[in-house]
């Protein structure tokens, strides 16, 4: 918008012809804002409530992060009492527990990315080869279903399946093993978490890929076939490049939420016995804030996490624009 305003040189501020304008410094811009307001005020009025929502419930908390640098007293000002500088940041950076949960976050985030990103692509490619339309639709409908469940329900199902008398242990005893209290074993937490995540997201994740697959030009397959490409090479040279923009976009989004790994699900599934592998940054800050009532300390950790998340998504975006030419904006 601004660039279109620039080419015509603004009228010289001293010019007497523009005396009727109340804003002599940049009359064009002022006047066009005024015109816009006069013409579109009803449209702007529709934006007031939503803007108020964003301001109060999205941007005010961002400013509220200031308590990470200030002493906070419950019941006092939401922006804290007095400055303490980087004290809380120093506190958590020297806290060994923080680095433990930081490592756990990286491991769980990496595992989630490793499984939850490629598996929908594989499933979409498999579905794409199905010719019986009703069977395809049936598989799709069933695989979307877990997406619609509350995390509480998924967690409850996980608990039932992995309980001492649950299905997982029925299998274990079937093969002659002793029942394992899976959810109380730190070494099992990652497996359980990632499997439940895959179960819940893989089907729904195929939607965008399946949509992208239908937009691939049939002629490309024809041409590949004439060149002697078999099914596998058609998939490699035509199908995969065809869905690459979708893949890149979803990868960037996945990377952006990398540190925010399934906070709610972990909160429901973990317990002190599994903290060594299950405790992540978000759950740690939750306990710091609400069980130890150390709001400033928790806010400092939260701010650190949010800033890293932002940096991750921005860099992923830049890298993908430079390398494959796809970006979010």
């Amino acid at each position: 918008m601004t660039s279109t305003l620039r080419p015509p040189p603004p009228a010289p501020p001293t010019s007497p012809q523009h005396a009727q304008s109340p804003a002599p410094r940049s009359p064009r811009r002022r006047r066009s804002w005024r015109q816009a307001l006069r013409r579109d005020w009803q449209l702007y009025s529709l934006a007031i409530l939503p803007l108020l929502f964003f301001l109060v419930f999205r941007y005010l908390p961002m400013i509220g992060n200031i308590i990470a640098f200030r002493r906070f007293k419950p019941g006092g000002s939401i922006f804290g009492e007095y400055w303490v500088g980087l004290r809380y940041f120093r506190m958590f950076l020297t806290d060994p527990t923080f680095w433990e949960v930081f490592t756990n976050t990286l491991v769980l985030g990496t595992l989630t990315l490793l499984f939850c990103f490629p598996l929908p692509i594989v499933l979409a490619l498999l579905l794409n080869e199905v010719r019986a339309r009703r069977f395809k639709r049936f598989v799709q409908s069933v695989s979307y279903l877990p997406h619609f469940l509350s995390i509480v329900i998924v967690a409850a199902m996980v608990m039932q399946l992995t309980s001492i008398e649950g299905t997982a242990n029925q299998l274990v005893t079937l093969f002659g093993g002793d029942p394992v209290p899976f959810l109380q074993r730190p070494e099992w937490f990652r497996t359980i978490y990632v499997s439940s995540e895959v179960w819940q997201t893989v089907g729904w994740g195929t939607i965008l890929y399946l949509a992208a697959l239908t937009t691939i030009d049939e002629d490309l397959y024809e041409a590949a076939r004439i060149d002697g490409a078999g099914r596998l090479r058609q998939t490699w040279h035509v199908t995969l490049p065809g869905i690459r923009p979708t893949m890149v976009t979803l990868l960037i989004l996945n990377i952006g939420s990398f540190l925010a790994v399934g906070f709610e699900k972990i909160l429901l599934l973990y317990n002190p016995l599994t903290y060594p592998t299950a405790d992540v940054i978000s759950t740690y800050l939750f306990r710091m804030g609400f069980q130890s009532s150390n709001f400033s300390y928790a806010a400092a950790i939260g701010l650190f996490e949010a800033v890293i998340g932002l940096i991750l998504v921005l860099s992923a975006n830049v890298i993908s624009r430079r390398t494959v030419g796809t970006s979010l904006w």
Binding site: P50, L60, P61, G64, Y144, S150, Q160, Y221, G302
Partner: protein, 303 residues
């Protein structure tokens, strides 16, 4: 979608004759996909079977997908728990109110954002988009909601997540796809912006509004953390938190699980609660699934 789907079905799409290897692949593929179906459905069937089984069989690890020792005690126990129904009613109320607020706010903002000639539009879009990648975080949000006096009220549940930026973008994309001549004609007829939105645009947007209602309603129906965080009074909790407290073993005295039957019925009771909480979703799922898919794809085009 439909026309493109038929292309895939045509047997001659990608080659006159299937190679032997490809025929084998298709058999394997069918088996793999059936495996996906089984793995996806198994937990549901397992839960239903457990909810209908006698506790003794569950503890003995004998229940898979067939109920053993058919028993409805747990259903009766849960149905007679007044708190369960109170919480269930809360979920319905919260979902309806929150969806209503969300739809109004989202529709208004999306409509404003869909006007390409509007001055300041990039800024208005930026305000929304930025919140997708950076958020204030748990603690400042909690401090804010508490200081607004919204704790232990319905507003703590329905307001802080009123606008989903993803839904906003879906709706904006839809409004942008409407022909602008319609609105120009409305302006010529003397309708102002509000009139155009109410009488011309919204009637044409029934399908997208239905999709948005579903998106929001399902997410509010399923949400638990906001209520868990901001609501301490048990009679104000939604049913998801009721279930959460049940599985966390933190049920209060009023709750059925705290009865003398607790020890015997714990596993079955959990299963029954899961079944009754999921039931509404499962009941409408077959009818609304395609709207969800359409909405997601619409969002992907512009989002």
């Amino acid at each position: 979608m439909v026309t493109l789907g038929t292309k895939i079905d045509a047997p001659t799409t990608r080659g006159p004759v299937d190679s032997r290897g490809y025929r084998i692949f298709r058999v394997v593929n069918t088996i793999v996909l059936l495996g996906v179906v089984v793995v996806t459905l198994y937990p549901f069937l397992n839960i239903v079977a457990r909810s209908l089984s006698e506790e003794a069989y569950i503890i003995a690890g004998k229940v898979t997908i067939v109920p053993r020792g058919f028993d409805l005690t747990a259903y009766k126990l849960l149905m007679s728990d007044a708190m369960f129904w109170t919480n269930y009613r809360n979920t319905v109320v919260y979902t309806v109110v929150a969806t209503l607020i969300s739809i109004v706010l989202t529709t208004c903002y999306a409509y404003v954002l869909s006007k390409p000639q509007l001055k300041g539009r990039p800024f208005l879009i930026g305000v929304a988009l930025f919140t997708m990648f950076f958020s204030g975080g748990l603690i400042p949000n909690y401090v804010l909601v508490t200081s607004l006096g919204m704790k232990n009220t319905i507003w703590a549940v329905v307001i802080p997540n009123a606008i989903s930026v993803f839904n906003l973008l879906v709706m904006k994309a839809f409004f942008e796809s409407l022909p602008s001549e319609l609105e120009e004609a409305a302006a010529v007829d003397g309708l102002n912006t509000y009139g155009t939105l109410l009488r011309i645009v919204l009637p044409l947007s029934k399908a997208i509004i239905a999709t948005m209602v579903l998106f929001y309603a399902v997410s509010f129906w399923n949400s638990w953390f906001t209520a868990f965080l901001y609501i301490d009074r048990q009679d104000l909790l939604p049913v998801t938190v009721y279930l959460r407290n049940l599985i966390a073993g933190a049920t209060s005295a009023e709750s059925a699980a705290a009865d003398a039957d607790k020890v015997q019925a714990a596993a079955t009771l959990q299963a029954v609660t899961i079944v009754l909480t999921t039931l509404p979703i499962l009941a409408i799922y077959p009818f609304v699934q395609r709207y969800f898919v359409r909405g997601v794809m619409l969002g992907a085009v512009k989002g």
